[in-house]
């Protein structure tokens, strides 16, 4: 059965159907939140749980216009923004231009992508993760992050440029 089918059954009150959706999407959602939280596993898991619970409460609002996965990612991103505001998570330096290198791509030197991504601003981390690792289009990412498509594209460009600079430093 497709996500939409499980979501329709969950909307009719079938908790087991929603449980299947949780099982299917927990890995990608927790992975996305791990990127947003810069690898804070406990916080990422808390936010993922809260996101699923919010999705369960609001499942009747899911109309199936987009995918369940992107609807869930939007809830998770909003949850992260709220937590970041509360815990002041994004105040930590977002200026990656002056950051030390994260390793290189030469044989024997490991480029630590996660460490480098953690140095990027939230918008850059989120758009690079959605558009590259999770395979969303710029339009879908814009919908999830509730920002204009042009902003998504500029975040991607800026993020890539910063990562390349880190690579360049490492080379």
């Amino acid at each position: 059965m497709s996500d939409d089918g499980f979501a329709a059954r969950a909307a009719a009150g079938d908790g087991a159907a929603f449980g299947r959706l949780v099982q299917q999407h927990q890995s990608s959602l927790r992975g996305f939140l791990l990127r947003l939280t810069r690898g804070d596993k406990a916080l990422a898991d808390d936010l993922a749980q809260d996101s699923f619970l919010e999705a369960w409460r609001k499942i009747r609002q899911f109309r199936g216009e987009g995918s369940f996965r992107s609807w869930l990612a939007r809830i998770a991103y909003t949850r992260y923004l709220m937590a970041a505001r509360r815990k002041k998570l994004e105040i930590v330096s977002d200026d990656a231009d002056s950051a030390p290198s994260c390793g290189g791509l030469e044989p024997g030197v490991r480029f630590d992508l996660e460490r480098c991504l953690a140095r990027l601003a939230l918008g850059e981390r989120a758009t690079l993760t959605l558009c590259y690792a999770m395979g969303y289009s710029s339009e879908e990412a814009a919908d999830i992050l509730e920002m204009p498509v042009g902003t998504v594209k500029s975040h991607v460009l800026r993020g890539r440029r910063k990562l390349l600079a880190m690579l360049g430093d490492a080379a």
Partner: protein, 99 residues
């Protein structure tokens, strides 16, 4: 596109590392059930409180006397008696048809 760019795109495009469930889904399901139960208890308590408050207000506003008056007027109402008789006949006829 130079080599660094290609390598970076390749790294960025790699799927996110799989995160083992390790009881995560079960914890979410348990919280769903707990949230549902507390919601039901809250709604029941709210209903009981509202019904109690309504009864108190109505009894203070002369509810018993009003009920007595209405019951008497209904019992003495010819149109209501005719309607009840018609209803009983209809039910009886339906039952006979069903048999």
């Amino acid at each position: 596109m130079n080599g660094n760019e290609e390598n970076l795109d390749r790294l960025l495009s790699a799927p996110l590392a799989a995160v083992a469930d390790d009881g995560f889904s079960a914890r979410v399901t348990a919280r769903m059930a707990a949230a549902g139960a507390s919601q039901t208890s809250f709604e029941t308590a709210l209903f009981v409180a509202a019904a109690g408050a309504l009864l108190i207000v109505l009894s203070m506003a002369g509810l018993p006397e009003w009920l007595q008056r209405v019951s008497l007027s209904l019992a003495n109402s010819l149109p209501l008696a005719v309607a009840a008789f018609a209803l009983a006949l209809t039910a009886l006829y339906t039952r006979v048809l069903a048999d």
